[in-house]
């Protein structure tokens, strides 16, 4: 029967098919041409370096030495016992554990107050958002002055009410909290703007329905409408906040250089020191792999929660 297709009846669809696939081929070629530069650059600047980092993590490569060799998991074994690295992992965790919840709940609270309040909305938004648009290195310098133990305005103010202010950035016990204050200050505005957008997107009728349904207090309406409806926004804000806290670097580099006595040593700063100051590229690569793994796990958690909890449609 297949041979019969060579008759005139069989030829029409065959020709149409050929034409169609010619158009398809052309479309596919255009698509490939248009995305080729992007594909090439993604390979060059993302895929290749990530592969290289993973490979380098298994070597004892040091910049300046001509040769290197594969050392297996030696770097990772060393990491598991490296007090600076463990300290920096711990510090990063503490920093993220302070900055993330505070900046999220502060932003949510402020956003709800602004949403409820008619006047001054744009002024308040500007005020809280300004730190996001400011050069963090520069503003860290200002914070250094504010935190100055003797001439700083904060301690001067505390002295006026009879409290001896701490050495904010200079004492090992305080420095991580002081950096967290700057971190919160810097990130609230971003979260706030996202929450404001999330709140605006909640249909007014849901609040009306909640009132008629018997949600008398503001808290009842928050539990029944606001909080669940903000779910996707909150999840996104949380992920971004955690990732940004894990990436803390500017303030540490500018203000403390990891000190005093490694009390503010954080992940990226340790990687920077090992890789670009001591030039131990292999070892720093192993740290980078740990850093990447943390990001992957965080994103994975986000996807899982997103699928399970906040997907409404």
């Amino acid at each position: 029967m297949a041979d019969m297709a060579a008759t005139s009846i069989g030829q029409v669809p065959a020709a149409a098919k050929a034409r169609r696939s010619a158009a398809e081929r052309q479309e596919a070629r255009a698509g490939l041409m248009l995305s080729l530069p992007a594909i090439f650059l993604v390979f060059l600047f993302i895929i290749l370096p990530v592969g290289a980092v993973i490979l380098l993590g298994f070597t004892n490569f040091e910049l300046g030495y001509p040769t290197f060799e594969f050392v297996g998991f030696e770097n990772y074994v060393e990491l598991s016992d490296d007090r600076t690295f463990l300290k920096s992992l711990w510090n990063t965790t503490v920093y993220a554990a302070i900055v993330t919840p505070i900046s999220i709940f502060m932003a949510l609270g402020l956003a709800m107050l602004m949403e409820a309040e008619g006047i001054g909305r744009s002024f308040f938004r500007t005020a809280y958002f300004l730190p996001v648009a400011s050069l963090l290195v520069a503003m860290a310098t200002v914070w250094q002055y504010l935190f100055h133990p003797t001439i700083g305005p904060i301690n001067t103010m505390l002295a006026m009410i009879g409290i001896a202010g701490p050495n904010w950035l200079g004492s090992g016990g305080m420095v991580l909290y002081s950096l967290s204050i700057i971190g919160v200050w810097q990130s609230v505005g971003f979260n706030l703007v996202l929450f404001l957008a999330g709140l605006t997107a909640i249909p007014r009728e849901l609040y009306s329905a909640a009132e008629v349904d018997g949600a008398k207090s503001g808290w009842d309406r928050f539990r029944l409408v606001t909080w669940p409806m903000l779910g996707p926004t909150t999840l996104f804000v949380t992920t971004i906040s955690v990732i940004n806290s894990v990436k803390v670097f500017e303030t540490v580099k500018t203000l403390t250089e990891g000190g005093p006595n490694k009390a503010s040593e954080v992940l990226l700063y340790t990687i920077y020191q090992e890789g670009f100051v001591y030039l131990r590229v292999g070892y720093a690569s192993a740290m980078t792999v740990v850093f990447l793994a943390i990001l992957v796990v965080l994103m994975f958690i986000q996807y899982r929660v997103q699928d399970k909890q906040v997907h409404y449609s």
Partner: protein, 389 residues
């Protein structure tokens, strides 16, 4: 049996008076449709009735209780919203349960995890489950109970919204255009269903709509609101046959009523073509401007040369059981609409000269302020016509 009464409700937004003293009473079990063009204040009135907005002045009495200062939650009213306003994160069952949970459980009984330890909580929750299931069964949505609103069709959501409103047996039912988000077929079907549900529940219902056909077909009485005032509250037939205001006459009826500017002649007699009406109030001065209204089905189309006002056909619309004829009066250039049977309209085409007439008993006379002026056909007129023929 509960009753509902609004008196003299006023409301302004920023110097703009939205409600200009609206009063309305509903009998036990009555279905009232609040109808008007958008922006007439009907939704605001409904929200004030629900307790979602507060009136500047006026009284609201539900079931003999003055509630104008009472929170929405304490008024024992239920509302179905235009968008249904279902909580998207809750299943249909949870949505329907919300009003019961909020009312029957105390705050501590609602705390997650801890609540089941509270005395009486288990029994209360079981009762809620039972009531939700019964409600769902009566609305035939049992199979939807585990779905979230995002997984339902528009019609299904609307039923869940109805179930949520009815489940706690409220004193008053409020509906804010609940059918406007449904497609045309479903809408006509749902009209009948809502009327049936209302009959079973037997509580006063205020139903807001901008669709006059919906209002006329569903309600016991129709309240027509225009520009913040309640112009007429009457059964559908009365609203249609006996409009008390020109705006009511214009708003109700499809196609819209024909209006012709005129003025009062001698002895309070008003003339349209050869037809004459006499006003009940004969004291009105001659030359007082009035507007005459005739519904399209009472406009008679006859061939050129017969009696009536000369006009030319502009357009003919064939609708199957009837034909709509748009024609322009030669004298004043006004477009008149006539609804005629296919037999009467046969052969009409654009550009044809015709004659239009309407018998005096179908002519409404409205004063310059829009209020209907009582009138009656002038009888001698018909006698003279007969003599002529």
């Amino acid at each position: 049996m509960t009753t509902l009464s609004l008196s003299n409700i006023e409301k302004s937004f920023g110097g703009n008076q939205i409600l200009k003293g609206v009063s309305l009473d509903a009998q036990p079990g009555e279905f009232i449709a609040l109808v008007g063009p958008s922006g007439c204040g009907k939704s605001t009135l409904l929200r004030i009735l629900a307790g979602l907005d507060s009136a500047d002045s006026g009284e609201i009495v539900i079931d003999g209780r003055e509630v104008s200062r009472t929170q929405a939650a304490d008024r024992n009213v239920a509302m179905v919203f235009q968008s249904y306003a279902l909580y998207p994160h809750l299943t249909a069952a949870q949505n329907i349960a919300v009003p019961l949970v909020m009312r029957r459980l105390t705050r501590t009984q609602r705390i997650p995890f801890v609540a089941p330890l509270m005395p009486g909580q288990r029994q209360a929750v079981a009762d809620i489950h039972r009531d939700v299931r019964e409600m769902a069964a009566s609305l035939k949505i049992d199979h939807l109970l585990d779905r979230k609103p995002g997984q339902m069709s528009g019609g299904q959501r609307q039923r869940v919204a109805l179930a949520r409103a009815m489940v706690r047996r409220p004193a008053v039912f409020l509906m804010d255009e609940p059918l406007s988000n449904l497609d045309a077929n479903l809408r006509v079907h749902a009209r009948g269903e809502i009327v049936e549900l209302h009959r079973r529940a037997g509580v006063p219902t205020v139903y807001v709509t901008h669709d006059q056909a919906e209002a006329l077909s569903m309600a016991d009485r129709v309240a027509v609101m225009i520009g913040g005032s309640l112009l007429q509250l009457a059964p559908p037939q009365v609203i249609y046959d006996d409009p008390q205001h020109i705006e009511v006459a214009k708003f109700v009826g499809q196609p819209r009523i024909n209006l012709v500017a005129s003025h009062v002649g001698e002895n309070g007699i008003v003339t349209l073509g050869t037809e004459r009406c006499v006003l009940a109030d004969r004291s009105l001065a001659g030359d007082t401007p009035v507007t005459l209204g005739v519904r399209s089905e009472f406009v008679k189309v006859s061939r050129s040369g017969e009696a009536g006002l000369p006009a030319h056909v502009e357009r003919v619309e064939f609708l199957g059981s009837e034909i709509i004829v748009y024609s322009k009066l030669d004298a004043i250039g006004e477009i008149m609409i006539a609804k005629v049977s296919p037999a009467e309209g046969a052969g009409l085409a654009a550009g044809m000269p015709i004659r239009l007439s309407a018998s005096a008993e179908h002519i409404f006379v409205f004063g310059a302020d829009g209020v209907r002026l009582p009138s009656a056909p002038l009888v001698e007129n018909t006698v003279r016509e007969a003599a002529h023929g």
